[in-house]
């Protein structure tokens, strides 16, 4: 079944937006201080966008906070994303946010991030459990990095998700690094998909630089989930182009670390007409530039929001 060209264009558009945000935030943080740290996602955009494209609007996404491809993929606009990064009222959190993202929009199925890594596994199982009870046909996706696959919650959650056949997808972005530590220094396997074996669920490895490959694997996992066949673990092999955080000197990294890097935008562009690629890229840049300017102009939050949302109705 050849993949729809509209879908490819749409994925390219979202990846271009995510990339443009990366670049603008990178530039911004070089001259100005933001609150907290930005964790650049350059090079990994195909994963969030490809996987999100395979989900329905009302499917639940629980992500880990590198870059913004997941939020863009699942339908968030650049405005609320940049608003949080710069700590303005226009942010998704209304201005509480900073470099570690807590973007959420429940109407888009964007459920948010837990900044203690590994916290999204059980949360995603919670929404998956709700879907199973409600028979609403929704799928829940937990996104995480290779380093985060070691967390105990990975195991506790999958034990139950596999037993109960929850409509859950584990989607790992394996960039072979956790901050400055090499995955294989702290993990017995280079393939996170190996962990699927213990639970008797499929463990699929895909090319994380290819949005189409990620899309297809996710679509299949979502179909399994909706059919009541339970969870799937997808591992997307990918590359972290930048440092762990914007400004990271990366002394720990080999000079030729990016020798085999393939830009996911270039990989997807191969499937598209040249002028389409250029138009989409230009539009994305303009969109993000406009959102950035609006964000700069937006006011910082009033101190009164310090107590907002602590309790319901507050």
């Amino acid at each position: 079944m050849p993949i729809d060209t509209t879908l490819i264009g749409d994925m390219y558009r979202r990846m271009s937006i995510a990339r443009a945000i990366e670049q603008i935030v990178e530039k911004h943080t070089r001259k100005a201080r933001i609150s907290g740290w930005w964790h650049p996602g350059e090079g990994q955009e195909a994963v969030g966008v490809g996987a999100s494209a395979a989900l329905n609007g009302e499917d639940y996404l629980w992500y880990q906070g590198r870059g913004c491809a997941w939020a863009i993929g699942k339908g968030m606009q650049p405005g609320p994303i940049l608003g949080d990064v710069l700590g303005k009222v226009s942010g998704a959190t209304g201005g509480k946010g900073g470099g570690v993202p807590h973007w959420a929009d429940y109407s888009l199925g964007i459920m948010g991030e837990g900044a203690t890594l590994g916290s999204v596994y059980p949360l995603a199982a919670g929404s998956a459990f709700a879907s199973k009870l409600r028979k609403d046909g929704r799928v829940s996706l937990a996104n995480f990095g290779d380093g985060t696959a070691s967390r105990g919650t990975f195991h506790e959650t999958m034990v139950h998700a596999a037993t109960w056949k929850l409509p859950l997808i584990y989607l790992c972005e394996n960039n072979e690094l956790l901050v400055g530590t090499k995955l294989t220094d702290v993990c017995p396997t280079a393939d996170i998909a190996d962990f699927a074996k213990g639970y008797g669920i499929p463990g699929i490895i895909v090319d994380g630089q290819d949005a189409v490959a990620v899309y297809e694997a996710t679509l299949e996992a979502a179909a399994r989930a909706r059919a009541g066949e339970g969870p799937t673990l997808i591992e997307a092999k990918t590359t972290r182009v930048q440092g762990h955080y914007a400004g990271d000197p990366q002394n720990y990294r080999a000079k030729d670390a990016l020798a085999n890097y393939r830009d996911p935008l270039a990989v997807l562009a191969e499937r598209m007409a040249v002028d389409e690629v250029e138009t989409i890229a230009a539009e994305a840049l303009a969109l993000v530039q406009a959102a950035y300017e609006e964000t700069l102009a937006a006011p910082p939050p009033d101190h009164s929001i310090i107590f907002k949302d602590l309790y319901y109705g507050q």
């Binding site: 959190t93 900044a115 203690t116 949360l123 199982a125 907002k308």
Partner: protein, 331 residues
């Protein structure tokens, strides 16, 4: 529906289960998850629930406390009302990130003001030799970390009324049942709208000489001590706080401003326990009304031994409360 005045004598844990069952009948979003809950619960609180509501809504779980609470947080964000019974509050240290970061902070940190209902049952206190990793009263954690409500029923009627209030609350609630009360009986209203409001304490015994603030397992011991003290002419007012978050400051201050003396009694370890906050705040708010220091009668600052006599020696006895009452009147 409501059988307004009827009462029935039942076990504390059965009353907790009754509150749960009544709410489950009208709210299909409630589900119960925990180790052993499908066969009625380790201590009987979930008896009959699986039969009535099916194994989809009353679900056994593996030995995975972090998972249990984390999945509750996720389910709560999408509009369910999960009820998790962790069996022993001590096990909640395994789920600290899920309780105090996820449940307590998810709404705040994402800035989306939606209801998040979840009831985490964390049974506290000694129960006859369960040991240092099963017997602690750690309710102070829910006071220090923001975003949660904390209730502690001291009798069967409150066990029902606070459970129902917790299930209707749009914020996560830590529900500390009392292990030693599990199999004690009390009169429980059958009214299916019987609610004990979260944040309201109650005077269990009026008194003019001193205010004794307590909750949970120490309410009965304090009442017993008050009887002894009354024989000596010392009239202690006993307030059962019922909720630790929020605390009923109106009630506390009205009483202390009248009696000019305050004691806090709890089973939790003394140092940095709930009594520390209560005492600190009373002296902040009513310093010039106080005639004596605020006294704390609390658990000894040790991991609990298992041996029954030693264990009892680690938590406040009626005699110690009586002695504190005498002492405060002698100052």
């Amino acid at each position: 529906m409501a059988n307004n005045d009827k009462m029935e004598t039942m076990l504390y844990n059965a009353a907790m289960g009754l509150g749960l069952a009544e709410e489950m009948r009208t709210n299909p979003d409630i589900f119960v998850l925990g180790q052993g809950v499908a066969s009625g619960g380790w201590f009987g609180a979930e008896k009959g629930l699986a039969d009535e509501f099916g194994s989809d809504r009353v679900v056994d779980c593996g030995i995975c406390e972090a998972f249990e609470v984390g999945m509750a947080a996720g389910a709560s964000v999408v509009g369910m009302t999960p009820v998790i019974n962790l069996g022993f509050a001590d096990f909640s240290l395994i789920a600290g990130d899920e309780i105090y970061h996820k449940l307590g902070k998810w709404r705040y940190m994402h800035g989306l003001n939606v209801p998040m209902s979840a009831v985490i049952i964390l049974p506290v206190g000694v129960m006859g030799g369960a040991g240092p990793e099963h017997s602690n009263s750690i309710e102070v954690l829910g006071m220090h970390f923001p975003g949660l409500k904390v209730v502690v029923p001291s009798n069967a009627a409150d066990a029902k009324g606070l459970m129902k209030a917790a299930l209707r609350e749009p914020n996560p609630v830590l529900y500390h049942s009392i292990q030693t009360l599990s199999f004690t009986r009390g009169e429980v209203p059958l009214d299916s709208d019987y609610i004990v409001e979260i944040g309201k304490g109650i005077v269990r015994r009026p008194g003019r000489d001193a205010t004794l603030l307590t909750y949970g397992s120490m309410v009965n011991r304090s009442l017993e001590a008050a009887t002894t003290l009354a024989n000596e002419g010392i009239e202690v007012e006993i307030i059962d706080l019922r909720s630790l978050v929020p605390l009923d400051w109106e009630l506390i201050l009205e009483s202390v401003n009248r009696t000019h003396r305050a004691l806090v009694v709890h089973e939790a370890n003394k140092t940095a326990g709930p009594g520390a906050e209560i005492a600190a705040q009373i002296q902040e708010r009513a310093f010039y009304e106080l005639e004596t220091p605020i006294l704390r009668v609390a658990g000894k600052d040790v991991p609990l031994p298992q041996q029954n006599d030693l264990e009892q020696a680690c938590i406040p006895s009626v005699d110690e409360i009586v002695a504190a009452g005498r002492h405060i009147m002698s100052l």
